[in-house]
């Protein structure tokens, strides 16, 4: 497929709709992506043609559904370059993956007085599960600081990597700051001390590299719905050596070897961690979803256009009086199209409400990263987040509408 601005858009039927009689501009992609036609069609076809519960029955449709589900898993493995030493566990989303990891990892590897490090810039999904898990085992959380630009302070990080640390769990790209963190470096620094690293790839998987072999991390987590697959899809990739030692999180069907009233043995990986009926039609859609992601990512024109749009937006936004962007890396090559900001004299909620009425969907508030957002503004932030189906023309239209909005709010 040869991609360009127009035919990418054509692949996503929802982008043709209007809201309030105005053209629809979707700039809330960090919350969830829109779905390409191939994904919608496969999802529909499964329910029309191949619907049966997976892994359980001997009949024909169960075999078809199981195949489709496993093809989804295979697509994930390819997309993140999972090797023989790794395993892809399918979950219902990044949040579910983190809860699984936090519970099962701490149960096996973390004890009283031990530490787990996260950064100050984590989504609540990579924070609250660790708080819960640490409380359970008497461990504590350490917070790797970020500077005023939103960049991780690596010297501090290195100092924090002491003998008590049992795991580092850090975002590849924060959903607020939109900065690609130096994951490879952070992994080598941790590994030098024998500490494993989990990476929250929820934003990184769409905006940065998703090659777990290159990143070197021990766990990699993301949500399928942010990368063109349906909602209810998530991934926990992990090194088999670690996963094999970890106890299951959910118990139930499919995850067992033999069950008796006295006790249960567990199924081998990955089923040990996949109890119950998963959302198999959605997971099957990883195949077309990641094919789309791959096609976008390997197209140099798409890449250059996205860089041009990011630079345009950052420059134009900075021209507005009283506007402050949260997340401006020294090297702008590390800034992805996830841009959060505050404007003096304008509440983000007011801005979002007015922009909505102009047809533009943006996010406002604390964005599930309250401690981080509060560092920048006590009223919350406004966030715009783009994917390759967004265009320069939309970015220009957004800037016009933002200025009108601020005028309405008497902020400029």
């Amino acid at each position: 497929m040869i991609l360009n601005g127009n035919n990418i858009r054509e692949a996503f039927p929802i982008l043709e709709r209007s809201v309030y009689g105005k053209r629809f501009v979707y700039f809330d992609n960090a919350a969830t992506s829109q779905k390409p036609r191939e994904v919608l069609e496969l999802h529909d076809t499964i329910y029309r043609n191949s619907n049966a519960n997976i892994h359980r029955a001997v009949h024909r449709l169960s075999a078809e559904a199981t195949d489709l589900y496993e093809q989804g898993r295979a697509a994930v493995k390819r997309f993140i370059n999972a090797g023989e030493d790794g395993c892809v566990i399918l979950t219902s989303g990044a949040t579910a993956s983190f809860n699984l990891l936090a519970h099962s990892f701490t149960a096996r590897f973390v004890g009283k007085g031990d530490r787990i490090l996260v950064s100050e810039a984590e989504h609540h999904s990579n924070l609250v599960p660790w708080q819960l898990a640490c409380d359970r085992v008497g461990a504590e959380l350490g917070f790797i600081p970020v500077d005023d630009r939103g960049e991780i302070i690596l010297d501090e990080y290195e100092r924090m990597l002491d003998g008590r640390v049992k795991l580092v769990s850090v975002a590849q790209v924060s959903n607020v700051l939109g900065i690609v963190n130096p994951i490879r470096e952070m992994v080598s620094m941790a590994h030098a001390k024998g500490i494993p690293v989990a990476v929250d790839g929820a934003q990184g998987v769409v905006h940065s590299e998703s090659d777990v072999a290159a990143l070197g991390c021990d766990f990699y987590i993301f949500s399928g719905h942010k990368i063109y697959a349906p909602a209810g899809t998530g991934v926990l990739y992990g090194k088999k050596a670690l996963l094999e030692k970890m106890p299951p999180f959910f118990g139930g069907g499919d995850m067992v070897g033999t069950v008796s009233f006295e006790g249960t043995t567990y199924a081998p990986l990955p089923l040990k961690f996949e109890a119950g009926t998963p959302n198999y039609p959605a997971a099957a859609c990883y195949a077309p979803a990641l094919k789309m992601a791959e096609a976008m990512r390997s197209d140099a024109d798409v890449f250059h256009e996205e860089r041009r749009i990011v630079m345009f937006l950052v420059e134009q936004l900075q021209k507005i009086n009283g506007l402050r962007i949260a997340g401006l890396p020294r090297d702008m090559g590390n800034k992805v199209p996830v841009i959060s900001f505050s404007v003096e004299g304008a509440h983000p909620e007011d801005m979002a409400l007015i922009l909505d009425k102009m047809g533009i969907a943006v996010r406002s508030g604390l964005m599930c990263a309250e401690p981080l957002v509060r560092k920048f503004s006590d009223k919350g932030l406004l966030r715009i987040s783009l994917l390759p189906y967004n265009t320069m023309e939309e970015a220009e239209f957004f800037m016009e509408c933002l200025k009108k909005t601020l005028a309405m709010l008497k902020a400029i």
Partner: protein
């Protein structure tokens, strides 16, 4: 004292809003209304006066005098301020029992409930809930 019942004033508000067919005009008007809000005393901006469920911070206080309830409020978001000032215009100086039995349907009629974001709609529900809770407190 308010000589008109909440329902009458609410009807007047609905009529005012019916002239706007553009959303942005409604918002312009709400922004304007925000400035007529009886502002809560700075010292009353305490956590127990904060209304939960709103994306912005909203404080609402009330005073009971001569059998009627008087509200003051504030918000750091200007559209929210406009919405509270609408609510207060309708319910200020009313008898607790008239407030408690009111159905608040005018909010729906001016289209605010469906068209505000889900978080904001919850905020609106909480604001109305708080007004009713105050009314119940003083109902005899």
């Amino acid at each position: 004292m308010n000589t008109r019942k909440p329902e009458e004033i609410a009807e007047e508000v609905v009529a005012e809003f019916s002239v706007f067919d553009e959303w942005l005009d409604k918002y312009e008007y709400l922004i304007e209304l925000g400035s007529s809000l009886p502002i809560i005393d700075e010292k009353d901006k305490t956590d127990d006066k904060l209304i939960s469920g709103c994306q912005s911070r909203v404080w609402l206080a009330c005073e009971y005098r001569d059998g009627r309830i008087w509200f003051t409020a504030d918000s750091d978001a200007i559209i929210t301020k406009g919405i509270i000032s609408l609510l207060i215009r309708v319910y200020n100086g009313q008898k607790p029992e008239d407030i408690a039995s009111s159905d608040f349907g005018f909010i729906e009629k001016i289209g605010l409930r469906e068209n505000l974001s889900p978080t904001r709609a919850n905020g609106l529900v909480s604001m109305i809930g708080q007004i009713k809770a105050y009314a119940k407190k003083y109902e005899c």
